[in-house]
Amino acid sequence: MEHSRSARTVFGFCILILLLIGLLLLSLTVGSSRISAAEAFRTLFGGESGDSASRIIRDIRMPRSLAALILGGALSVAGFLLQCFFRNPIAGPFVLGISSGAKLCVAMVMILSLQQGFFLHSGILVLAAFAGALLCMLTILVFSGKVQHMAQLIISGVMIGYICNALTDFAVTFADDANIVNLHNWSRGSFSGTSWADVRDMAIITAFAMIGSVLLSKPISAYQLGESYAKNMGVRIKPFRILLILLSSLLAACVTAFAGPISFVGIAVPHLVKGLFRSAKPLIIIPASFLGGSVFCLGCDLLARTLFSPQELSVSTVTAVFGAPVVIAVMLRREKERSRT
């Protein structure tokens, strides 16, 4: 059993890595202008060349794919952390309104900068998103102390999300500017238009948060048995909870700042990954969720831009189609488990 378990872990990681490589190659080659895999390889490893194919790959598809990879991973890990924090299997940055809160703050800062005409560094956007995410997280925390049932927590999160979205729409409507189109596109969730500078920034932030999350995997595993037991095992509950909030907000904020709100990835991927690995061990599931989220978002982004090409879907639309059924499946599974005990 011990043996078959570690075999399962190796198998899981192999599958995810292979999928990731495959999807990455696909998203570099498939698109409005078809580029062969050989050409893609030449561009990737062959150094400078000025033709249009290599420029498309280097300046458009590569950063976009990397954004999907990094942000998809970040979003899934944020979801896993939130599920652990609230001890609620259908918690996630999107349903809890955290993404919407981040979006509201980013939209405000964007509109303000458009009006005042100052240059927006992506760091400022991340900071704004982080502030918005934390604000929503704190609101949710106030609710979570008062509601007993896990569904009520989710409902309050969804409501907060609606309020934030309404405020965002309001702000967007009254700040008319040519650039608002751009803002509108972003507010529906998209990886398009990512620059290499953005990729660098999101990679740094995500790497930082990922290291933090992996280092928290030991207390998270204790916390899975409940707060009282975690405390008895030596977890310092208060700092642990604060770190968990900060990390999950930072990850969710990073995603929202660069790609807008993306739905259901945070809930669906950790569950799919737990099923694949037949485990909930944070030390395995945190890196596996990252890989799973990368695969999921790369795949969804590929579909979003190719399905009705040249018309592009928002990536959130595609993630919802695949993610929402997982949420329903999780709830049904929980119900089944409850009825058997």
């Binding site: 995997s217 595993s221 009282s228 008895n232 095992m233 030596g234 977890v235 310092r236 737990k274 061990k281």
Partner: protein, 374 residues
């Protein structure tokens, strides 16, 4: 095993939630290898006392000292190596095997990422074996029975290698066989590893049999602290729990309801434990009855004392005195029916045979006691 030193000491502490005192003036000492059981009515504060010792609730005044150091002065890690707990919280361990759950007990000993060493794994295996759950190691924790879960949670607590083991109503959901297994195991842990066990129990009979010391809690205060023979004497338990509708018999370890008072309708001639089923039937039917003559050391005596409206007794080890026989006759005459559960009589209860013959003469003797009363 050094069993002399004090592992746990409560120094007149009070504790509660949000500065509101729930338990007050709690004092006791617990040595290595001892089992201390907290008893008392629901809501008296037993869990609060336990949670305070486990440092889950803040002390308001006084002190709780584990291994010579106040719980509040110890770091989480220090404390985790000294005390492990089994609580009433229902845990949802999603996709965790029983081994994983038990292995959580190694938390205070593992490194930064919580990887288990070979030695850690061995300790977890041994703990599972000790509670008889080694065959469940690979089973999913959410799929096993409540009783098995409790065993696995005990294995987790053992794997934590504590000096003090703290359990809140650990046997509540177990069947009687598992209750015994569980408590025997706690005794074994105390005896062989010198662990000090502190627990709360609702099963008074088991508390009496398995504890070295008892702490009686009522209305948030420690009323008494002592050995089972001191606590389980007289009517103290009845008083502790405020039993109004009956009485707890410490000798037999059970509670009996109060008797129906009123004019006895049935007279039961009993002894040697034969009359208890009849007493119970009459009690259930709500019929007031008298019974006699019962020796004070007779098996029937406690039930008779609790349930009979009228009881005629004889002193232990003596033949039934004449006056007891006479008052039994008097009461029997006023009853409509007489039931005799005895088939043989001896020197000491010869008078009961006379009672039976008398009942037969006056045609009150119910011969077929299996049919009657219903």
């Amino acid at each position: 095993m050094n069993t002399d030193h004090i592992l746990l000491e409560a120094k007149s502490f009070s504790a509660g939630y949000r500065k509101q005192i729930v338990v007050d003036d709690i004092s006791f000492t617990l040595h290595a290898g001892e089992v201390l059981t907290l008893i008392g009515p629901n809501g008296a504060g037993k869990s609060t006392v336990l949670k305070t010792i486990a440092n889950q609730i803040d002390l308001i005044s006084g002190d709780a000292v584990i291994c010579g150091k106040s719980v509040q002065e110890q770091t989480e890690k220090e404390l985790a190596r000294q005390i492990s707990v089994l609580l009433t919280d229902r845990i949802t361990a999603e996709r965790m095997s029983c081994f994983d759950v038990a292995a959580a007990g190694r938390y205070p000993y593992t490194g930064l990422l919580g990887m288990l060493s070979e030695q850690d794994k061995q300790i977890v295996q041994d703990a599972l074996k000790m509670v008889g759950a080694d065959d469940l190691a690979d089973a999913s924790f959410s799929w096993i029975s409540d009783g098995q879960r409790q065993s696995v949670m005990l294995a987790r607590a053992i794997a934590q290698e504590p000096k003090v083991l703290l359990l809140d109503e650990p046997t509540s959901y177990l069947d009687i066989s598992r209750k015994l297994d569980f408590l025997c195991l706690l005794r074994k842990l105390a005896r062989e590893r010198g662990i000090a066990v502190i627990q709360s129990l609702h099963e008074l009979d088991l508390a009496q049999r398995f504890s070295d010391k008892l702490l009686c809690i009522r209305d948030g205060k420690a009323q008494r602290f002592g050995t089972p023979d001191i606590i389980f004497s007289g009517d103290y338990i009845t008083e502790l729990y405020g039993i109004r509708n009956g009485r707890y018999d410490p000798l037999y370890g059970t509670a009996e309801p109060s008797a129906y008072t009123g004019q006895p309708q049935v007279f039961v001639i009993g002894g040697g434990g034969t009359a208890i089923p009849v007493y119970r039937k009459l009690y259930r039917a709500g019929i007031p009855f008298a019974t006699g003559v019962i020796h004070e050391n007779d098996l029937d005596y406690p039930a008779a004392k609790a349930l009979a409206a009228d009881l005629i007794t004889a002193p232990s080890f003596e033949p039934i005195p004449e006056d007891a026989f006479r008052s039994a006759c008097e009461i029997m005459m006023q009853c409509e029916t007489v039931i005799c559960t005895l088939e043989a009589f001896g020197t000491m209860n010869h008078a009961n045979q006379k009672l039976r013959n008398l009942a037969e003469q006056i045609n009150k003797l119910q011969t077929d006691i299996k049919k009657q009363p219903s």
